[in-house]
Amino acid sequence: MTSIRVTETPLVTYVLRRADDALVLGHRLSEWCGKAPMMEEEMALANMGLDLIGQARALYTYAGEAEAAGHDEDALAYRRDERAYRNLLLVEQPNGDFAVTMVRQLLYAAYADPYWRAMMSSRDATLAAIAAKAEKEMAYHLRHSAEWVVRLGDGTPESHERTARALTMLWPYTGELFETDSVDDSLIEAGIAVDPASLRDTWRATVADVLGRATLTMPADGYMQKGGRSGRHSEHLGHLLTELQYMQRTIPGATW
């Protein structure tokens, strides 16, 4: 068997959740390589993908240190099964068309930017340092995806329609951004984690502003999907991991 087993303290789980968010979304963006609608956007998508993969590496390394069982970034990324992945359902949703990708990026970045800004004051020095870098990156992702959502929403009837559809499709995955469980509670209490409830107003205001400029209507908050944080994913993640992990599963333990 090529899978590892991770001993998850609250800190390990908390950090893995963020690492998985970053890796899965970064991987999704990297799937665009060679397929972007224009060369300038090819560059931008790769930039955002690289930022997220970079965040993932720092976070996995830290999770490995916190676990102290000798798992490095690659062991954690490549040798955990789907049910051990703890990312948000939002970030694993398939790229779809460019509108889906940009709306997904907006919905995530509008959360991650203030999240990492707040995390800069975490009592955990490593997380605070990671946050300082990630915040700058996510501010760019937010700006970039917001510009595109406005352009697409207020572009042609076709682009408006596609963007509206993307929004409807992805909205049910936004509730999970603000979910907490006992893992979060203990770390919030300890001043290590941020209470996501405190970010909700900022998130809504940011999204509402962008959608307004994009001539799009903010969907009503209906039933919200969840499960990613505890490893109950959609069917999409398994296919992503199949590709991501194939080499390490084929020759486990090699140096690359």
Partner: protein
């Protein structure tokens, strides 16, 4: 004729020709062809390596590969911009590529079958590209020369990275080393072909040399490449797939066996393993992105009308 003479004098004096300077039409045409082919190669060249981004075997390699492919896109952009200074638009050049009328480097019509191919491409393909490109940093046409300086800097970084992938594989498990050898076996000959037909059969060299667009012949560059690369292969512990390869003590050069120019001609003619796939992929990308570009234009138009309306009202 006086203009032409003055032009040749500037060239001979190693002066740089700039966009607004007078230049012979044939010089302009040669450059447009060469620069746009080079730009297309960067863009098409994203595909074989892009094929392994989602399957890269470590996060470090994944990030490096994504960054590398991004650099190639960047090179494409500088080069299209350099060609645009000669009065041809990026759209025209891309249309020519998609119509199958423009060439790009044939090496990208070979498939990447294993992870080791990513190492081999960096080491060999980028290595060969650099041999071709370093002299272009002193090309007589200013914008091209300046673009090449930047491109070469990044390419040599990629080349080292590729070599390091090979080194890691060769120091790894038996399976990894075998993968590396296999990649060398498949990429070696196509890389030698990257320098183009032998001097005896080459068409463009003469005027290109006189105008200092080109400073070495195909065979000279190929020899430099072989001399630089064979010792690296030996250091890796790999065997160059050429039983006739030998070191000539007299000249101090490595001498390779005969190149299968038939294969080269077939690939150039569109019959390489991936020619169709590469162009289809590029066409599909253009097609899939059409609605996005259209939306961006529509939005920009609306916006400038809005601004005009505000300006009029004020």
């Amino acid at each position: 004729a006086a203009l032409l003479q003055r032009f040749q004098e500037r060239i001979d004096a190693e002066e740089r020709i700039e966009p607004n300077d007078w230049m012979p039409e044939a010089y302009r045409r040669t450059l447009v062809r060469q620069i746009s082919q080079h730009a297309h190669s960067e863009i098409i060249g994203m595909q074989p390596e892009g094929n392994w981004i989602t399957r890269a075997p470590s996060l470090r390699r994944k990030a490096a590969l994504l960054a590398k492919v991004q650099d190639e896109c960047g090179h494409g952009l500088y080069l299209y911009a350099a060609a645009e200074t000669l009065g041809v638009s990026r759209e025209e050049m891309v249309d020519q590529l998609l119509a199958g009328k423009a060439k790009y480097s044939s090496i990208f019509n070979y498939p990447t079958l294993t992870w080791a191919d990513i190492g081999a491409i960096g080491w060999l393909v980028d290595g060969a590209a650099i041999m071709n490109q370093i002299p272009l940093c002193r090309c007589s046409y200013g914008p091209y020369a300046r673009a090449m300086i930047r491109v070469c800097k990044e390419e040599s970084f990629h080349q080292r990275q590729g070599y390091e992938i090979m080194l890691t594989l060769c120091r790894g498990t038996a399976e990894q080393k075998e993968m590396a050898q296999d990649a060398l076996n498949r990429w070696w000959w196509p890389c030698l072909m990257m320098f183009g037909p032998p001097d005896s059969a080459s068409q463009h060299t003469d005027t290109s040399t006189r105008w200092k667009i080109k400073r070495f012949t195909n065979d000279e560059l190929r020899r430099k490449f072989v001399d630089a690369t064979v010792p690296q292969a030996h250091f890796l512990g790999l065997t160059v797939p050429d039983p006739e390869l030998r070191f000539d003590e007299a000249t101090g050069h490595w001498v390779h066996g005969a190149i299968d120019w038939d294969e080269f001609k077939q690939v150039v003619a569109g019959n390489g393993p991936c020619n169709t796939q590469r162009l289809e992929r590029r066409r599909k990308t253009e097609e899939d992105g059409a609605w996005v570009r259209e939306a961006a234009r529509a939005f920009a138009d609306k916006n400038s009308r809005r601004k005009a309306a505000v300006a009029t009202a004020a």
